[in-house]
Symmetry: D2
């Protein structure tokens, strides 16, 4: 059975030889590095939960290639139910980890490629689709975590790829050889990159012929020669280097992002899924984006954690019964469930693409993601309101543990009589973590820009709203169009 355990996943990562840099230095042991490890642990939950009977239905699927039971993260959606379960899986894991669990981007890349490689073959008689299916089977059989890499550095946003001062500001085919291609460039903001076995590269925008060399998609092992990872900083990242756990807020899990540099990397042909078919670059972006906008189902799960934390903080202060507190908790839930409606609806309204893969409703997926750029910020604001100011003025865990300061914290941070100060501090640290700390990177800023910044969704909404139908109805009702 292809389902890896969390333990096997961790072991498999140890076998990789990734070129990872942090704070200007090469990281020797990626898996055990204290800043990286919690993010590995979050990915590991995607393996762990697949083995739990109560989550099996959500976390696993049956491969349409092999008929075997596989991790849903490696699955290509075969029906609307698959799409709906994907949304539920996102919420479940968001709630279990309280952060970005990083594995959806690879799943979305696989699904997008399963549509576009087929369509490309239909248009050009190429053989990308069978090649892709072979690769997919490999991913499923080995239960691999894939990084889906789309966002180029982009340099001057006013210029297309081929007009940039530096031609590498978008990733490109630098050389075509008999056995494969040499690529050069970089992908930014790569979530979970150093916890991945594979990296799947896609173009970042629709392209014209002049940008043909930038229309490239391929997959590589994450430790292929010439791939370099430079870790991004997160707010409060170095708390993970401190002695205690409490000040991290989320003591178990985290996420990470990296700049991934491709320094003249060789890709063999059997791993290339697009190479110059620029007319399909836009479609690949659009399909991936729609899937990935659905994936922001995960924020509903992180929202669950934040709401639960705020409610707990209110109980510790004995204010949970105040009508304004109750109303604020309702509002957080209302906003969070409105997000849930979005990721369920775009799945429920999905459809079959020519290759047989099921795609989400693109309009609704964009509407969902647009709300994700707004509501988590408001939920975070309300959570800070409910939590109280102590959330940002609390001394450190060391202060709690040192006798001289600890006695004062225990005395003065007591809440409702049955609540130890430590519990109050822990729950407030978690709220800090999600609204200002490492998890805020995922819950807020990534909600804003991940899977495309808000304006990208607005353009899609503009394009997909059926204005002709709406105007026709209006003109008819007021008598301009009499029939």
């Amino acid at each position: 059975m292809p389902l890896k355990t969390a333990q096997e996943y961790e072991e498999s990562l140890r076998k990789l030889n990734l070129a990872v840099y942090m704070f200007g230095k090469r990281v020797e042991n990626v898996v055990d590095h204290p800043i990286i490890r919690p993010s590995m642990a979050a990915v590991a939950q995607t393996y762990e939960l697949a083995h739990r009977p109560e989550h099996e239905d959500i976390m696993t699927a049956t491969s349409h290639l092999t008929g075997e039971k596989i991790n849903r993260f490696t699955h290509v959606h075969q029906n609307v139910t698959d799409l709906v379960k994907k949304s539920k899986m996102g919420r479940l894991l968001g709630r279990e980890t309280g952060c970005c669990f990083q594995r959806c981007v690879g799943m979305d890349s696989l699904n997008a490629l399963s549509i576009v490689t087929y369509d490309t073959d239909q248009a050009y008689g190429t053989q990308y689709y069978p090649r892709f299916l072979k690769y997919l089977e490999y991913v499923q059989e080995n239960d691999l975590t894939c990084d889906g890499a789309m966002t180029d550095p982009k340099g001057d946003r006013g210029l297309p790829p081929h007009k940039q001062a530096d031609p590498d500001l978008y990733l490109r085919v630098a050389e075509t050889r008999e056995d494969g291609i040499i690529v050069r460039g970089a992908k930014a903001h790569q979530t979970g990159a150093v916890n991945s076995h594979e990296i799947i590269v896609m173009p970042t925008i629709a392209m014209r012929e002049a940008d043909k060399h930038y229309a490239v998609s391929f997959a590589l092992p994450s430790d292929a020669e010439g791939i370099i990872y430079i870790m991004g900083r997160q707010s409060c990242d170095t708390r993970k280097l401190e002695e205690g756990l409490m000040d991290r807020g989320n003591i178990l899990f985290g996420g990470h992002e990296a700049l991934v540099v491709f320094d003249n990397v060789f890709v063999p042909w059997e791993r290339v899924f697009m190479c110059g078919e620029y007319e399909f670059a836009g479609k690949l972006v659009e399909k991936f984006a729609a899937y990935h906008r659905q994936s922001y189902a995960c924020k509903v799960g992180v929202g669950d954690v934040l709401i639960g934390a705020a409610q707990t903080a209110a109980e510790y202060n004995n204010v949970a019964g105040a009508s304004h507190i109750k109303d604020k908790v309702i509002e957080m839930n209302h906003l969070n469930e409105t997000l849930y409606c979005g990721c369920i609806a775009c799945a429920s309204e999905g459809h079959k693409e020519p290759s047989g893969t099921y795609a989400v409703n693109t309009l609704l997926a964009n509407v969902h993601k647009q709300n994700v750029t707004r509501f988590p910020y408001e939920i975070a604001r309300i959570a800070q309101d409910v939590a109280g100011g102590l959330m940002v003025t609390m001394p450190s865990e060391s202060d709690l543990n040192a006798p001289e300061t600890g006695r004062w914290l225990k005395k003065y941070f007591a809440g409702r009589s049955d609540t130890p100060a430590e519990h109050r501090m822990r729950i407030l640290r978690l709220i800090e973590n999600i609204t200002l700390g490492t998890a805020a990177v995922g819950y807020l800023t990534e909600s804003m820009h991940g899977a495309g910044s808000p304006q990208a969704q607005r353009i899609m909404i503009s394009r997909l709203a059926n204005m002709r139908e709406k105007q026709k109805a209006a003109r008819h009702l007021c008598g301009i169009d009499p029939e």
Copy 2:
């Protein structure tokens, strides 16, 4: 085949002898009264569209009682697909009529009763469910329009039914006889009441034993003796009495509400579905409310009309290409589609009740309706922004037609060179109609209070959000609950 045509529907109404009052006087000919007729025409669309092949799938269903093809408005939902189609039917008809088409409330009453009469029988060994099914078959066979009547006048909101100064402020069983019951009271805000063949009464709140006599549900022909209808005023209602059509905005359709008084009305036992089983009053309210909150799918359709009208007005002014106008149209669409997500998601996440009827997800239906109390107001605000001020300062159709004034209006209300002033005026009148006029009653205030005022949804959200699960996740992640 039970499907009536629009024409047959109108004829069937003529046979009724309703006691309708308006402006203090009895209305002699209800069907042809100019203020009422547009609302009848809107209901007639629910019959008309069922005969159109392109809408057949949405507008009709197969009766689980007779196997016959019936109008979906008389159907009891048999699966999730039925629920989703109901949402789509609401949007479709909202877009076709640009107003409240009034027939959903009866459908929602039938479905709620199909659940609760069964449950009551299970609990008490009563025979309500078979009695209800017989009634349902009658409704389906005759393709009837039913008014679902829930809201009592309620008097002092601080007091329960039996403590009101006047015991009739909630509708109640005044007398129990061998052949049936005598009821007294009133139901307020009854949408579409005088266009209905039947009126289905339900209690308005959860009740305790002291309110036992108020726990009553039954169905009656709308012209049963002792039922009196007093028509409500709508903003701009009397424009329908004026000579021209244009100033109505929507020249075809409208809605209406009425106060329905039950002046010692007799109900035979075969039409009684609850009588004293107060423990089930709350459940009936909750089930009806959930279905009816889903029904606000219709506002998405009215939103379509308003968005189409705003876009058209912008084109007539030649400002549709301005970036701020485009952005406002996107925002209207975004909000409208967010509403759509809500009514699709609560249907898609539906479940089977013991009676076999499918119910929507109650939490998500409440979340949906809560958004309906907000977004149409914002869409209306933006539509007024895009439309421009002329919408409220335009002279009348008579001014356009009179030579002395008409020449000035034609000269000075010209927009883009190809647009006659009359078209500009028509589309602006439609926007006025939906945001300030007769249709604003439905699009705005009914969106606020119909199917329960906002606070009612908040209470349900509070009750249904799984706080225990959320708090458990939070406590686990910050280390309060170590396991």
Copy 3:
């Protein structure tokens, strides 16, 4: 003393011979026409309150020309205190009338001209300023109501005045004569036009040389030959033609708008304040707009009425003590007072112009008006929430008075035991009036578009925010600019 009484004001209007059209017909008696009279009564309050000792400080000022006590509406602001009192006068009258009292637009025109005629004279050696002062003294001495007329029909918004298909779509100088000019065109949305003694015309946009003939400003008696008024329709306008008063909501006051056509009207030179100085057209627009955006102080007063009505409705239902109702009333007050802050701040931060006139802070006046395009809509939404649905489903006053229907309304619309149904109906009709009816035109749509649509304010905010200073501070703090 120049202060007219309300009675004298009404009499003075009777002496005018205005060419007013409504519903395609000439209005014979303007002052007594039931649709117009409430708006005359609202203007009359600006005279009445000036005689009340408790409002004297706010309502009157000392003329800087004559030293006489004058109505503040004819005053040119001489200091910051004058500006602040103007804002307070707006709120006061908004609260007294519950509608648009129409007289601020003339005051704002006079003040804008007092700045720009002076500046024009300084630039060109013209004599507009002394001419204007003479006119101002005439207005002050006779305590006149002036209509300030700025908005042209504008036709195709994509084209400048001189490129319109019809050259009259912006008002222009059609002919220059020795004794004056002949003007042709129209001004739209003229609030209070037919209650005014004078009409002061200004250009509507900044202009270039090609539009020179459109750069014209002048004042005329409102009944000058060739001026034609075509009354605009308001939502629910014809309720004023009905027998009773109650269904009007506001039984005392109203507003009106008209299209004002200038059909080759002669203006003598002593009434001309700009004629071809196109470089100053933009400045006149900007100065007038800033003053007039401040004038939306009045909406705070209308907001007071709406909040008071909502609170009263809640008390009648006995729900005023519910925490969610209290919170909604707080929110309405919060938004309303935020608006108040805007109109006070832009006055308090006013400054002296070269002519000696005090001008408001333009940035803050625009910020204030921008909020006015948002908050009244939200206050109206909340008011509808608090009021309950009966507001739009209530039968008519005739129903209340007719015995057959009246007995049911009195019985079933009883609220808290001490509240007669009539009182509930009256207060709800007032809420309907302000949120959907005649007053909604002023409180909502005029708040949107009056004194410039939202985008106009955004352009000004963009122009006036000191971005250089902000960027300098940011660059300094992060070390880009080390000094």
Copy 4:
């Protein structure tokens, strides 16, 4: 002249012997501690700017006690102009420092005491006011920074002070002696505490007789025996311990908060300003709160920095000309200037108290602060939108400086051709700092809870909105109250 220089201020701090703890250990050198020093530097700006001629008018005032020129932070407001200048000073310093400059809380305490000590003396014949004036003169003469300490730990929010499990959860008089009092308890969230010369303690809520011993106000030197400071953690605090400066975002300034414990501290009578007069505890809270809510003028200045940073980031990406970016910058400015209106209006509408001190308009100050709990969060959200995702995924300064990683960052983080990657990184770090990092504590969470959490303002708005007047107007206009 009493005006200290920044240098003198720093030197004066070195003379203090504060008991400060951080990370469980006593801080030996408070002034030079890298985490504390930037906050000291921010306070120092309040001294520095008072010496700059361009800011003299705002930053200094004339003492009403001595007639000498003093720092405005030690001034008691003598007129409305003083109040307005205080708001401007807040914005100025917020923009100069990009963070909380910590000195306003002492100014607000002094002003509140100048009102309430006078009123207490009037009521009881006590001598607090002369005692206070003597203290004030001392503060002015020595240009001292005072911490104003109000917020008690509060324990179980459902219980009053005297019913808490631990009687010290509100600060109290533990013993009364001939020469003074012994106090015990703590004050939480003390902004700028360890940069202050003095600490002024006030009660935190209105009290009844049973809480008499908690009604205490006094001033002490910050290093009085028994006062212990435990530093709070801020998001990203330890970046100040790292080698480079860039990752701090704001490389110059910061803030801090501390828990201040009073471990049986002696206060001589000449420093006691309230001791048992519980009826005045509420008034002192209310006066202080109103002043301090006005003080959130500073957030307008921090908003200036954030807007400037976002605009700069957009320019570096060459997207500043995109219409959606321009619109977002306008929106940030609009919200920021709306806040400015609030702090100007509550000052401009100030009034004289019996003691001669000018107080702000309490209603408007509360309205202002309520907006501060909302708009900075929205401005921050938009700033993150405009900035782009790199803000949270950027590698560290060390990565930029190390040759192996630096070459890639320089290559791939290039924006518009003239922008070095380093500048892009610096401006994004500043945005991170204000929206997620150390400054977010002040700009966001402190905006929420400082000077009272949102609900505290809502209660005041509810109490101060003149509902009677509003309801009277409404009832009059709809005919309930005929006269």
